[in-house]
């Protein structure tokens, strides 16, 4: 075996505790070590993905006790694919923010990179863990680093956004504790596989209540509809790369947790419909709200929420095609939205207010960035030769297969709304006159590399979607097969 899933958590923590010490020796270490760690995590996850193709799911046991007793980490095709995606994005975010704004000072850079690295670690842990309470701990790690990163810029509004996030996060964690405790008192275990196995013994009311508490809690991180009040503000106020990391990494992990709980742990009847309805509401409300936003990052945030709603709709269809489409959507959204945030934050670099009107005429001054933003916009709308097209196509065909014609219609109509607001920005970039008081800032070379590699992925997968579809199909198989998940974990004892 080339490594073990536990290294995904152990190595970053070791590095995080090491960084303050090494920073005393050479200040540049605080920037370099997180990058090395993230690169290591990427290499590790890729090699583990290759390993599990032939050897099957890895169930890693911690502290030598088999699954119902100890905590276990599961590296299955599904969680492995997500881990690879997250670590890749984390590496790109690190690359992009290597010299971003305030990071050039030593003290802020130290905090920024430690928090960023641990945010990625926490998300990876959320995806890998097979224990409910362990998931709570990782959610807290992600949330606290999120609060710190959101209020990273010393501006007046960033603290407000972070406080809003903190309030919702604190409610969420309390509710999650209640939910976990209800499950524990009924079933006497915290292991997700064993809970799934014993779930039929549980009283119906208890089941419903615990599911509600847990879904409310995870829904806060996953930006489901009534609980996503924090997201636009946080995305607006956080540094640009952090917005990308939030939408690309944290939310993905939370959606994973949501899906894992509904698909694997519970056997409730109405849960899929719940996903479908909540996803639909989220999608429609967010896309409509995005239409009238005046700030660029706020618009992107609403778009991101809408895309997550779309993924939930796809999960709510409940068939294998639906899951496939959802995973594809999550994958493409993570890549494309990161590209949009990366390039967008250079288009409105010097303004704290980040209005859309500040991008006027930037196409002339920052041609490559503007071009990349346009590419991302086209891709996320779902224009044919790009990556987003295939994911949306998969979703539509899955919906059509399940005879949900209304759903197809709604998605198509809302997609037009989406196209309108993105094309409006593109129009401003290229065909408007530059405002006198905005001055463009050239992207650094690192940022350029990060953006170009994302754009390359968008294009390559747009032309050859088969590169990833095999992987995603296996992941979808893995998620749908509940019995195998339980069997694999509990046989480890």
């Amino acid at each position: 075996m080339v490594g073990s899933p536990v290294l995904f958590v152990a190595i970053p923590l070791l590095a995080a505790f090491l960084i303050p010490l090494m920073g005393m020796i050479w200040k540049e270490f605080v920037r370099i070590i997180p990058g090395l760690v993230l690169a290591y995590m990427l290499v590790l996850s890729v090699s583990l993905i290759i390993y599990i193709q032939s050897h099957g799911t890895i169930v890693e046991v911690i502290s030598g006790w088999g699954p119902p007793v100890g905590i276990n980490l599961v590296f299955s095709p599904f969680s492995g694919a997500l881990t690879t995606l997250m670590t890749f994005l984390g590496l790109l975010v690190w690359l992009y923010s290597h010299k971003f704004k305030r990071n050039v000072d030593y003290e802020p850079a130290k905090k920024y990179f430690i928090l960023l690295m641990l945010m990625v670690t926490g998300s990876v842990g959320m995806v890998l863990t097979g224990d409910l309470f362990n998931m709570f701990v990782f959610i807290e790690i992600v949330s606290i680093s999120g609060y710190g990163l959101t209020s990273f810029f010393v501006r007046r509004d960033s603290a407000e956004a972070a406080f809003k996030f903190l309030l919702m996060g604190a409610f969420a964690s309390s509710f999650l504790l209640i939910g976990i405790m209800i499950i524990y008192t009924q079933l006497g275990t915290l292991n997700m596989a064993e809970i799934a196995q014993r779930m039929p013994q549980m009283d119906y009311h208890m089941k419903v209540f615990s599911l509600i508490f847990i879904l409310v809690a995870i829904g806060v991180e996953a930006e489901t509809f009534p609980l996503n009040g924090w997201a636009p503000d946080v995305y607006t106020q956080a540094p640009g790369p952090i917005s990308a990391a939030m939408s690309g990494i944290v939310v993905k992990a939370a959606v994973y947790a949501n899906i894992r709980i509904i698909y694997t742990m519970y056997d409730l009847q109405g849960a899929y419909e719940y996903l479908l309805i909540i996803g639909l509401i989220t999608f429609i409300v967010a896309e409509t709200a995005a239409l009238k936003q005046e700030r660029l990052k706020r618009m992107l945030a609403y778009s991101s929420i809408g895309q997550m709603g779309l993924a939930m709709i796809a999960f709510g269809i409940g068939t294998k095609e639906g899951v496939y489409a959802a995973l594809f959507l999550m994958f493409s959204h993570a890549i494309i939205k990161s590209l949009l945030f990366f390039s967008g934050s250079y288009l409105v670099y010097n303004k704290t207010s980040k209005y859309i009107k500040h991008v006027n005429g930037m196409g002339k001054y920052l041609p490559i960035t503007a071009f990349l933003f346009t590419l991302g916009a086209f891709a996320i709308i779902g224009l044919p030769p790009f990556m987003g097209f295939w994911s949306k196509l998969a979703l539509l065909s899955a919906a059509a297969d399940s005879n949900l014609v209304i759903l197809v219609a709604v998605i198509l109509v809302v997609s037009i709304v989406e196209a309108v607001y993105y094309l409006r920005v593109v129009n401003r970039i290229f065909f408007f006159k530059k405002r006198a008081n905005t001055k463009p800032e050239k992207p650094t070379i690192n940022a350029m590399i990060a953006m170009l590699s994302l754009a390359a992925i968008v294009l390559v997968i747009g032309f050859y979607p088969d590169l990833v579809t095999g992987l995603i199909e296996r992941a979808a198989d893995d998620l749908m097969d509940k019995g195998r998940y339980i069997g694999e974990i509990l046989s480890k004892n």
């Binding site: 030598g64 119902p68 100890g70 641990l118 362990n134 275990t189």
Partner: protein, 231 residues
């Protein structure tokens, strides 16, 4: 108006919470084949740790503890990021005058005893209630007493960073040692000894001592950060 809506919502929530809890019998075992019995018997027979809570916190669910230590580390980091200031502001004293001489000498007397109590609590983590977090908190509270009563008392920032980093790294390294020697992270690599002896439980006692130092350093850091902040 908002108050009444909230009150109504809370009444509904309270009703449901209460009805859930009344379904759970108080003081009776709720489930037949829980992991509780496994934890109790293996902490006594295999790990030889008399405090089962410690066994759970450090060994069976030691991963949670690692995460928890990380959460404290993160919140200290995030706080100093949130209350960020330019360098020259940091040095200013935030305690205006020392306490009366009686309290000063009283605190001076009491401080080593408090630290000793903290050390006692985390050394005996596997025998009696308490452990790393509690001991670390007590030590940090003792430092807080000194900070409050003496105007000029201070701990070197670098020393705190050293203690914190080294303790945290040793925790992870012990975990990795378990991984490389026995095959799973945080597994016990030392002999376990006898039940109810001070030197028992193998690696558990060591981890709790490390956690104690780390938590103490982190909490002192948190107190420093927030104490030297002038609004």
């Amino acid at each position: 108006m908002k108050k009444y809506i909230v009150l109504g919502l809370l009444a509904v929530l309270g009703y449901y919470l209460m009805s859930i809890f009344l379904l759970v019998d108080f003081g009776l075992p709720h489930f037949a084949h829980g992991v509780k019995d496994v934890y109790l018997s293996s902490s006594k027979n295999i790990l030889k740790v008399s405090n089962a809570v410690t066994a759970i916190v450090v060994n069976f669910r030691g991963f949670d503890t690692l995460g928890e230590v990380t959460v404290l580390f993160l919140s200290a980091t995030a706080m100093s990021g949130i209350l960020y200031k330019k360098r020259h502001d940091i040095g200013e004293r935030s305690i205006l005058f020392p306490a009366s001489s009686i309290i000063r000498s009283g605190a001076k007397m009491l401080f080593p005893s408090i630290t000793l109590l903290g050390i006692y609590v985390f050394i005996h983590g596997h025998l009696s209630p308490g452990g790393g977090f509690q001991g670390g908190t007590i030590i940090a509270t003792g430092f807080l007493l000194m900070l409050l009563t003496y105007q000029n008392y201070s701990v070197s920032h670098n020393r705190l960073v050293w203690v914190e980093s080294v303790a945290g790294m040793l925790f992870v390294i012990i975990g990795l040692a378990g991984y490389f020697m026995k095959g799973s992270f945080l597994e016990n690599v030392l002999p376990v000894g006898e039940l109810n002896d001070l030197f028992s439980g193998g690696v558990i006692g060591i981890i709790y001592v490390l956690v104690g130092f780390k938590v103490a350093a982190e909490l002192i850091g948190i107190i420093y950060t927030i104490l030297h902040e002038k609004g």
